[in-house]
Structure formats: C-alpha cells, structure tokens
Amino acid sequence: MDQVVLSAGDTAWVLASSALVLLMTPGLAFFYGGMVRAKSALNMMMMSMVTIGVVSVLWVIYGFKLAFGYEANSQWYGSFSLSGLGDVVNELTNNGGVYPIPLLVFAAFQLMFAVITPALISGAIADRTKFVSWIVFVAIWVTVVYFPVAHWVFAFGNKEGDTVTGAGFLASRGVQDFAGGTAVHINAGAAALALAIVLGRRIGWQKSPMRPHSLPLVLLGAGLLWFGWFGFNAGSALGANNIAGLAFINTQVATAGALLGWILTEKMRDGHPTTLGAASGAVAGLVAITPACAFVAPWAAAVIGFIAGVICALAVGLKYKLGYDDALDVVGVHLVGGIVGSLAIGFFGSSAVNSLGLDGIFYGGGTALLGKQALGVVLVFAYSFVATLIIGYLIEKTIGFRVQSEKELIGVDQTEHAESAYELGGILKGGR
C-alpha cells in the first residue's frame, strides 16, 4: 500500500454515492409500491425495506468477506469468515489495486448493491407473498447467489506485494460490467423469473384489472432511482475522476433516450405515451447503461438507452404470451435491459473513452468482446435462475411461499401487516 494515500476528494464522492445508492431501495419501494393495488402497497414496500435490514446485518457478519474476501484465493467466492470490519478502519480499499478510499467506504458502497439486488426481485411476486418467507428467501438468496456472483464480477482481488489473489472468475476473464449489468440486473431478473414460476399466477390475473394505484408514487420512485443511480454508476469509478464524469453523463443521456424510446413505442403501438411508460423507460435505460456507462461514448449511451427503451417496452408483453405472472415486469425491465446493456458493450465499446475498456464491433474490435459479454450474461442468468428455482421450491415446500387465496383476495397489507396504506376518508375508510 506504499504510495497510495487517502484522497478526501475520491472518498467524498464514494461516500455521497453510497448514500445515493441506499436511497435507491426506498425509491424502488415507491416505484413498485405505486404500481400495485392499494390493498397490497404496504407489503410491496415492506419487501424492499426489510431487505435493507436483513442484507445489511448479514453483510457486517460475513457477507462482505464472502463477496470480497480474497483469503480463499477462489474465483467463486471470497472467504468464509467474519467480515471483521472493525479491524480495518484505517485501511484503504484493495481490489486488484489500491484505491485511495477507506476500505469501510468501499464496504458501505458495495453493501448498497447487495441490498438493492434482492429487493429488485420482489416486484415479480407482488400481491401474494408471505412476508416471513420473503425474509427467509432474502437471507438465503444473498448468501447463495448474490455474494458469490458479486465475487465473480466485482472482485478484482487483493494485491499483496506483486501478486493478486482472489479475483472473481468473470472479472478475471475480462467480462466488462462497470456497475452491475450482470451481477445486479440479470441476476435479479433471472431470479424474478424463477420466483414468478414458483409462486404462480395471481388470482384473477389477466381477468380482473390490476392497475397502479398511484402513479405519482411510481414517478417518485423513478425520480429517486434516477437520482440515486448516479451514485450507482458514477460511484463505481470509486473516485471523482474522468471515468466518473463519463459514467455520469452517460447515465443521464441513456436514461433520457430510453424514456423517449419507451413512450414512442407506446405512442405507436397503443396510441398514447403514458406516465408509467416514461417511468419504466427511465428505469430500463438506467439498467441498460449500468454495465456500459464507463465503456462507451455519450452518443452511444443515448443510442443504447433508446434501444433498451424500445426493446423493454416490447418485452413486458411477453409474460402474457408465455404465461408467467411477473407482476411488475422485473424480467421485462431488468433481465432484458441488463442483457441489452451487457451485449451493447460488445458493439459500442470504445477504448478511446476508457483506456481500461476494449473496442467493440463498431470500433473495429471484432466479436471477441461480444463473446465475453455473452458468456457473462449466460452464466449469471443460468446460475441465478437455477439456484433461485431451487431455493424458491424449498421454501414453498417447507414454510410455504405464497399466502392462502383468501388472504390474497382480502389483500396482503391487511393479512400480513394488519395495516392499510391510506385512511383518507378519515371517517369511514379503515376508521371506525
């Protein structure tokens, strides 16, 4: 750790970024919560909130080491040991090189990623999930799926003297994923598909209307997600530098492009550009640019965003064809958007904007990069889908994952939480 000394500037940005990424999970709660019917809005939001609780505590016990330890020198996981964060207060971050920010700041930043990933999944199983089973699921899932996969993608290993030990296997194979297109979005999207299958369709699906109970709440969620995502993407530079600047502006223009792409698709297909479409498009753009934000030029980011907006707008209809009830389109937005973004690097990647990047097909780099990217996509999808299917069925067969149908009809807010979201009438609704 010789030369590198703590940089207050870099640390300031990663601290701010960590706070921004934390805000994304409440943001997600509102984004999802507004989309469900009023009778299950609280449950939807509680799934996100409790995920913050569970994952943060596991992280400080063993999660950080399981994801970012290097002692086992494994490419599949970090190390089985206590995180021991109290002992490293004065250490700098060491991940394939030493960064001038405190290790605890890196640990906090990465924790926020570990929090939001399982929370993303919850959208697929809206309206019908046993709350206790969700807690159990989250604890198992982050341990078996997220922490290892984060190691594959984000662990560049610990540099001890001249050697690097404990790099993740996708990271060391050069799969490019700047801020989590694979580890976060494809991972969560694949798990969402698995759980939608495990829990089955909601009563009345495709028969009775299940429209968003509050679009302002959805928009609030989308706004907070957009805001927080600057921390997610530009913070992943782990410093306040040129790459952070590139990631920042790319995040903005890709999101803008996707917003336009989605509502244009709607205008042409359904006749009206919608608020839900604008919010969804923004999120699709944010997802798609996540892996690519530091590897492409801004014009390419706008194009990638636009493409993601169009494709995701079309993809959300798939579930009706295929018959799985992914209630809030986690698959259509996060899985599909994550794939679009991860593969887009293979086309738009440019070493001119980032010396650590590679040239994609459009920059004369050939198909090698695209191949690597496809590898990352397939492996993360496959592992997450299969593992989640197993975890999901185990829970379903033991403690049960889905509420009884009577409770589903009454609404999970009342049955799982003994609450109702609104009491506006004041006199009667939910009052005496």
Partner: protein
C-alpha cells in the same frame, strides 16, 4: 313528502346546485357515484395492457321535497343538467313516509 334522487354529470353539479337554490331548495345531500349505462367508458393502458373503464363518474343528489314542489324541481334539474349528450343521467322520485330534523326533533314538512 317525496325524495327526489338525481344522477347527473359531475361537470353540471355546480349549476344544478345553484338552480335548485334559486328554486327555493334549502338543502340536499350529495354523493359521488359511478354510473353504468348507454354512455361508453374509456380505455386506460398500463404497460401495454388495456383496461376498459366502463364506470363513469356521476354525482347523486338526494332532495327531500314537499309534494307540491316536486314537479317544478324535477323540471329545474332536467333543464339545468341536460347537455343533450348520452349519459346526462336520471331523476326519480319515491314517496317518503316521515322526515325528522335531528337537531330539533321536528317532524314532517317543517323538518325539510
């Protein structure tokens, strides 16, 4: 005594209320309802899925009136609330056996 119940378009409520006041009505009870009828609804679209909304917002007025006023009041309502387009609503009357004013316990027509 009679109870006049009127279902009208929300946009006409203010005018009807004023017209009834001018016609000497002292009070009424109003509620928000949804109507199904000949008037078509509209379609909302969420992530490409269409939701036909065939319930249309209406306002329901309930007016207790003396027998002799009833026809005049119905006329006022029909004239004021009518736009000539489908969905303008209905007015109907039922017979009321007794009315009591809660504040005073007065009964019958003086209670209206």
């Amino acid at each position: 005594m009679k109870l006049i119940t009127a279902i009208i378009k929300p946009g006409k409520f203010d005018e009807v209320k004023t017209a009834l006041r001018n016609a000497g009505v002292k009070g009424m009870t109003v509620s928000e309802v949804s109507g199904v009828g000949r008037q078509g609804g509209h379609v909302e679209v969420y992530r490409g899925a269409e939701y036909p909304i065939d319930l249309i917002q209406k306002v329901r007025l309930e007016i207790l009136a003396e027998d002799k006023e009833v026809d005049a009041l119905i006329d006022v309502i029909v004239k004021t609330a009518s736009t000539g387009s489908i969905g303008d609503g209905k007015v109907w009357t039922t017979s009321v056996e007794n009315v009591v004013r809660v504040r005073t316990g007065e009964k019958g027509e003086t209670a209206i």
